[in-house]
Each structure stands twice: as structure tokens, then as C-alpha cells.
């Protein structure tokens, strides 16, 4: 049985290794065995049991890493399972996904971390659990960071809810700092967003919907950045950053060399609050679609390096949780299968952000945020996670054909450019278009 795969004739972009050139890549025993200029590998005497992948005309990159997905297990398998969610991830080019702990029950114990990682979950791609930062994510008592970290948690968070209490957030950053474990914050001052269902602006006023102000996000980001700047080794990761003012705090923290990272979701660089029509709850997520000026600030931050990663915040919900009164509908949209195409369409083609920078936001950037060693690059010896895509291919996203169990997306029927052709996890092809 062959365990080798030769990806021939493709153009490799590996920002971590500063590669942007035609290269052949040989994967062997789950690792990158060789990465060389074209047609060199056979000369080195690889035997005939090598499977070949013809990547002519395609871009070959390190496997994508999504720092923020909701796979809904345990407890809500009717929305998504680890099997279906990771199948959607594979179709979107993601070889690794980090799962949020706001499940039922909350993943706040070693037992649940282990449960998530068991083979019978039938994960198609690598699953890295993020553990709850506080017990049952109630924001009162910290979980056992050390044990959770040893069991495989790559970060801690109360995502879905913010850690509001100053003292708890400080404790989390202190303990996380000692363990070199990032604390992921869902930045929302919920005291300011009660009963709110979209961004506070002209559109929410017109529609008669109570609005979440950008300040409700930015004020928490600012507090967290202040804390992180003054706690030795603290690692703060700002989840799904959506407001221009939040970026100001992140920039200040980064300039002060604090260990602060942040992610942006594709819908926040694609849509604004003006795009929602007819109270369509597929445009309802938290944080909400913001104003045009927020979107423009995010574009700049994606280009200039302030943003570390594109993360989907893939949040599947059943139809009956969405097809209802906008104010009562669940927050969140799916995102795994459209992320790359939206990035290419909106960031590369429309805003001319170079492809290597976009690849970095899907690979080396997220790998650094959560210290995913051996991933995010194709240098020799790396783990054999590879994504192959066609940056020019036009296609139409059909939500009904999505691999996800849920179809709650505003991008159904969208014509996009850039398509994942193959996804390779540990040297094995797990998705082929």
C-alpha cells in the first residue's frame, strides 16, 4: 500500500517558508518528504508506488486552519455532527478546525475534550478542541486550564458569551500566560446588547430592530488589550472581530508587543448591515454585519497584517431555528465551504490583496495564533496537510448541496471565484472536487 503522494506541476504558495513558485511536493508517511522545483523528485529515485496528483494550473498551499467552528457535538447533532461539519471543512479546504466549547454540555472537562478527539466521532479533518474558560461558561470560576491543555485543548474561551468580569478575565489571562495558552474572547458587552439582533445604525432604526453598537464590542476589546498588555506572557485572541474601533485597540496592543492576535470572519469582509433584506435571518449573526466603514477598516487590517487569521465562525442551525421572527431567530451562519471563495472574490479580485497574504490568513497566521506545530507550512518535515485550489475557477454555491447538516447561509446561489480542488489530511486525499 502506497503511503506516498506526489503533487506535481502545481504552484506552491507557502508564506511561512516564503515560497511562491512552481514546486513539486512529495508527501510520505504523513509528512512533507520533499518540496523541490519542478521535475526534480523523480530524479531522486522515488519508487513506482507513489500516487501522483496532477496539480498543473492549480495553487498548492499548506492545509487551511479554521480557528473558530461550531460542530455542535456533544448535544446538538440535529444541527451538525463532527462528521458532517468536518466533511464541510474538507470541502472548504480546511485540514484543521478548532471547535468551540459552547455545546450541550459545555466542554469544560478533560472527559469531553477526550470525547471530541475519539476516532468514533469520524472526523474527516483534524479537530482541535478549544475548552471552556470558566465552568459551564458561566463566567464565574475558571476551568482547569492545565489539565485541559494537557488533554489537547489548544485555547480556552467562553465563546457565544463574553468573559465580562474584569477579575475573571484577568485571572484567565494570568493562568493562560503561565501555560502559554491563548484566551479567546467573544468581545461583546452583553449589558449593552440585550434584545438586540443587528448592528446599531440607520438600517436597524429603519427596520425597527434594536441595534448592537460597535462600542459594545470595542469596549471589551479595549479592556482585554489593556489587561493583556500588563500581564506577563498573557495571550489574548480576539474572536470574530467586526468593528473598526476594535482594530485600534488590537493595533495598540501589537505595537506594545503584547501577545495579541485576532481573527475576522468572511461575512464581515463581504456584507454590511445594509445587505439584509426582508428580515432574512440568514443575515443574523453575532457579532452582526457592521457598517461600510467597519468593513473598509477590516479590509485594511486584513491587508496590513493587523488581522492574523480568517476564521469562519461556522455556526450551523436547523431551519426551524432560523425561519422565524428575525428577533427570535438563532444567531449564526455556516461558512466552511464559502470562506476561500469569498476571500478570493472579495479580497483578492476586488481589493487586490495578494494571494500569498490571503493564503497566510488561512495557514501560517492561524497556526501561530494557537501554536499548531508542524502545520501552516509545507517545509520539509511538516505534517502532510495540503490544500489545492483553483484561484480562477468560477462556481455557484448551492447551499442545498452543502456537506453541512445545516443550510443557514446568506451566500446560497452566489457566483464566486476560487474553488477548492483537493484537500489532503496527513497525506491522504479527503476531498476532491
Amino acid at each position: 500500500m502506497s503511503t506516498s503522494l506526489l503533487i506535481k506541476g502545481g504552484h506552491v504558495i507557502d508564506p511561512a517558508a516564503r515560497i511562491d513558485a512552481p514546486m513539486d511536493v512529495l508527501l510520505k508517511d504523513g509528512r512533507v518528504a520533499e518540496i523541490t522545483p519542478p521535475n526534480k523528485i523523480r530524479a531522486k529515485g522515488v519508487h513506482g508506488d507513489v500516487e501522483k496528483f496532477d496539480a498543473r494550473g492549480l495553487i498548492v498551499v499548506p492545509g487551511f486552519i479554521d480557528l473558530h467552528v461550531h460542530l455542535r457535538e456533544p448535544g446538538q447533532a440535529y444541527k451538525e455532527t463532527i462528521a458532517t461539519g468536518t466533511a464541510a471543512a474538507a470541502a472548504g479546504g480546511f485540514t484543521s478546525v478548532c471547535t468551540m466549547p459552547n455545546t450541550i454540555p459545555v466542554v469544560d472537562s478533560v472527559e469531553w475534550i477526550e470525547w471530541l478527539r475519539r476516532p468514533e466521532r469520524n472526523a474527516v479533518v483534524n479537530v482541535f478542541p478549544i475548552a471552556a474558560a470558566t465552568r459551564a461558561s458561566k463566567g464565574v470560576t475558571l476551568t482547569d486550564f492545565r489539565d485541559l491543555h494537557s488533554a489537547g485543548a489548544v485555547a480556552v474561551t467562553d465563546d457565544g458569551k463574553p468573559i465580562l468580569e474584569d477579575s475573571i478575565m484577568r485571572e484567565a489571562l494570568v493562568l493562560g500566560g503561565e501555560l502559554n495558552l491563548p484566551v479567546v474572547q467573544h468581545a461583546e458587552d452583553t449589558r449593552m446588547t440585550e434584545n438586540c439582533s443587528m448592528h446599531a445604525g440607520a438600517r436597524s432604526f429603519r427596520l425597527g430592530l434594536r441595534g448592537m453598537t460597535a462600542a459594545a464590542e470595542a469596549s471589551i476589546v479595549e479592556r482585554d488589550v489593556q489587561l493583556a498588555m500588563h500581564i506577563p506572557n498573557a495571550r489574548l485572541h480576539v474572536a470574530h472581530l467586526s468593528a473598526a474601533d476594535s482594530l485600534k485597540s488590537v493595533r495598540r496592543g501589537k505595537r506594545a508587543r503584547a501577545r495579541i492576535t485576532c481573527e475576522v470572519s468572511p461575512h464581515h469582509f463581504t456584507l454590511t448591515d445594509e445587505d439584509m433584506r426582508d428580515y432574512d435571518s440568514n443575515y443574523k449573526m453575532n457579532p452582526p454585519l457592521r457598517s461600510t466603514s467597519d468593513l473598509e477598516a477590516i479590509m485594511v487590517a486584513l491587508a496590513d497584517g493587523t488581522v492574523d487569521a480568517i476564521a469562519t465562525d461556522h455556526a450551523p442551525h436547523a431551519a426551524h431555528e432560523k425561519e422565524m421572527e428575525f428577533e427570535r431567530a438563532a444567531f449564526g451562519i455556516t461558512g466552511l465551504e464559502t470562506a476561500l471563495a469569498l476571500a478570493i472574490t472579495k479580497l483578492h479580485r476586488e481589493k487586490h490583496i495578494p494571494l500569498p497574504r490571503i493564503v497566510e490568513l488561512f495557514t501560517a497566521g492561524p497556526a501561530r495564533c494557537f501554536d499548531l506545530r508542524g502545520r501552516g507550512s509545507l517545509v520539509r518535515g511538516s505534517i502532510a496537510d495540503v490544500t489545492i485550489f483553483d484561484p480562477k475557477k468560477k462556481w455557484t454555491f448551492d447551499a442545498a448541496k452543502s456537506y453541512s447538516k445545516s443550510k443557514n447561509t446568506p451566500f446560497d446561489g452566489w457566483q464566486l471565484t476560487g474553488k477548492v480542488i483537493a484537500t489532503i489530511v496527513g497525506g491522504k486525499v479527503v476531498y476532491r472536487a
Binding site: 440585550e194 434584545n195 432604526f205 429603519r206 425597527g208 430592530l209 428580515y279 422565524m324 428575525f326
Partner: protein, 303 residues
């Protein structure tokens, strides 16, 4: 799917011509001599929120036109048991509803229903969003008292943020070039309200709202919807309550309107509510013919 023909979901998205047609037809509707335009039709009144004026006048309007009416309120129906909005809608359709009139505490609820049902949906007030039938009956009240919309200045004073009446009124009046002044404290009259429609501006002093005004619309402070916002009621009364002395600052023939319910001693004094310039009960009376027109339009009988 597209809303069924005859639906009335908002004022924002219907044109000036269509509004004029409805207003004209409403003036032809005589509650004393009604025609059986809805004979044999079933009008279902689905009320998720309490209502006196709107519910009664829709019911009277439908009955006068010969329709059967059924009132469904959240209390005492399957809604209480957790039935979803759409399932309730499908049930009403299966019962043979020809028109569904819906009042709901959430903005957009009628739109969601209209997207899934091939039955005309009439929005009888959705959350903070719109109250189209109120805007139409108020427009008729204005036209009965003023020759036309031309050159008019309308001041709306009070809790704009929580008012679906104000949103619908702004959209309607703006389509006819009316100058619209919104007045009240920033907590309930945010600056962003000026973006609602062309011709809308905001003033903070009641004197500025009254000078040169032809029509005054007073609104209740919706204390039940404030949700965390704090309004100092004595201060509100001192700054914005409509009383006889203040009304003198408006044009001599200025009329006073209020969609109700009125709270005497708060947004207005009894001398205003019961005074010669008050048209508050005339509005209620105009509700019936206006809603007759809306229902006739819903079943394609507005000709």
C-alpha cells in the same frame, strides 16, 4: 416567495400613487352604507399583542364588508403552547383564511409570514417597525382637515424610537413632500432617525417643533418597551408635554393627533386631548373606512 397580491406589509415600500388610491377608496367607504365586498370571505385577526383600536376597527371593517372574522390571540391559542409563527400561519391557511391581519411584537413578523404563505397579509403593527394602516388613516385625517399635503409641516413629538406609528408616518408623509419634524429627547429621538426618509429633521426644543406647524402628532412614551433606557418622566413632562400655552405657538389652525392610547397628564393635558383642535377621536373614526379599503384591496375588490 413574493408576498401575495393585496398584502400590506409596510408604507416604506409602496408608492405614492398606490397610497393615494387607497386613501381615495377609503373616502368612498361609508360604514353606514357598506357594500358586501368581502361577502363569504374569512378574515383572520392574529394578535400576538394587545390592541383596542386596531383590532376593533379591523374587525368592524371586515364585518361591515360581509366577511367572517375570527380573532386569534396568543393567550388561549396554540401559540401559548409554543407553536411557531409559520405553523400558526399554515394552520390559518388550512382553515381557509382569505386574509390574515397580524399584530406582532417582533419587527418583520408579517414579512416572514408573507414569504411563506400565499394569503394576503396585513401588517397591523410589527414591533418597532411599521403600522401601515395607522399611517393611512392618519393621512386621511390630515386630508379631511387640510386641503392637501402640499406645503404642510407635520411635527411628531415624543418617543420616536419605539414608535412604529412614527416610522410609517414619516415614510408616508415624505412621499408627498411634507416637511417632517421629529422632537424629543435623544434617548427616544436618536439623531439616526433623520435618515428615515427625505424631509425629516430633528429638533430638541418643543418651540422649534411648533413654529409654523400645521399638524401635531403626539406619541406616548412606551415605558413598557424602554428595555434599559431611562427616561426622567417629570423632566419629559416639563420639556415636551403638550399644553394649551404651547399649542398657541403652532399655526392657529394646527390640528392635534395621537394614535392612542393617550396618557393624560404625561404627553398631553386634558385641555389638549379634549380641546377644539384635537382630532384624536376622528382618527379612531377614520380607522374603520380606511381599514375597509385595506381589506377590499387585499381581496382585489378595490376598484
Amino acid at each position: 416567495m413574493e408576498p401575495a397580491r393585496g398584502s400590506l406589509l409596510s408604507i416604506e415600500h409602496i408608492g405614492a400613487n398606490e397610497i393615494l388610491q387607497i386613501l381615495k377608496f377609503a373616502r368612498r367607504m361609508n360604514p353606514a352604507k357598506p357594500q358586501p365586498l368581502l361577502k363569504g370571505k374569512k378574515v383572520l385577526l392574529l394578535f400576538y399583542e394587545t390592541s383596542t383600536r386596531t383590532r376593533c376597527s379591523f374587525e368592524i371593517a371586515a364585518k361591515l364588508l360581509g366577511a367572517h372574522t375570527v380573532l386569534i390571540q396568543s393567550a388561549g391559542s396554540s401559540i401559548e403552547k409554543g407553536e411557531s409563527l409559520l405553523d400558526t400561519g399554515y394552520t390559518l391557511r388550512a382553515l381557509g383564511a382569505d386574509v390574515i391581519v397580524i399584530r406582532h411584537p417582533n419587527a418583520g413578523a408579517p414579512h416572514v409570514m408573507a414569504q411563506h404563505l400565499d394569503v394576503p397579509i396585513i401588517n397591523a403593527g410589527d414591533g418597532l417597525h411599521e403600522h401601515p394602516s395607522q399611517a393611512l388613516l392618519d393621512a386621511n385625517t390630515i386630508l379631511r382637515n387640510k386641503k392637501s399635503f402640499k406645503g404642510l409641516q407635520v411635527a411628531i413629538i415624543g418617543d420616536i424610537f419605539h414608535s412604529r406609528v412614527a416610522r410609517s408616518a414619516c415614510h408616508l408623509l415624505s412621499k408627498f413632500g411634507v416637511k417632517i419634524i421629529l422632537c424629543g429627547p435623544a434617548e427616544v429621538v436618536p439623531d439616526i432617525a433623520a435618515t428615515l426618509a427625505p424631509g425629516v429633521r430633528i429638533v430638541r426644543h418643543i418651540e422649534d417643533a411648533l413654529r409654523g406647524t400645521d399638524v401635531l402628532v403626539l406619541l406616548r412614551v412606551q415605558t413598557e418597551r424602554l428595555a434599559g433606557l431611562k427616561i426622567d418622566l417629570p423632566d419629559y413632562v416639563a420639556r415636551y408635554q403638550m399644553n394649551a400655552a404651547r399649542l398657541k405657538m403652532a399655526k392657529k389652525d394646527c390640528i392635534v393627533m395621537h394614535p392612542g392610547p393617550i396618557i393624560r397628564g404625561l404627553e398631553l393635558t386634558s385641555e389638549i386631548a379634549d380641546g377644539p383642535q384635537s382630532r384624536i377621536l376622528e382618527e379612531v373614526r377614520n380607522g374603520v373606512p380606511t381599514r375597509m379599503a385595506i381589506l377590499a384591496r387585499a381581496v382585489g375588490k378595490m376598484r
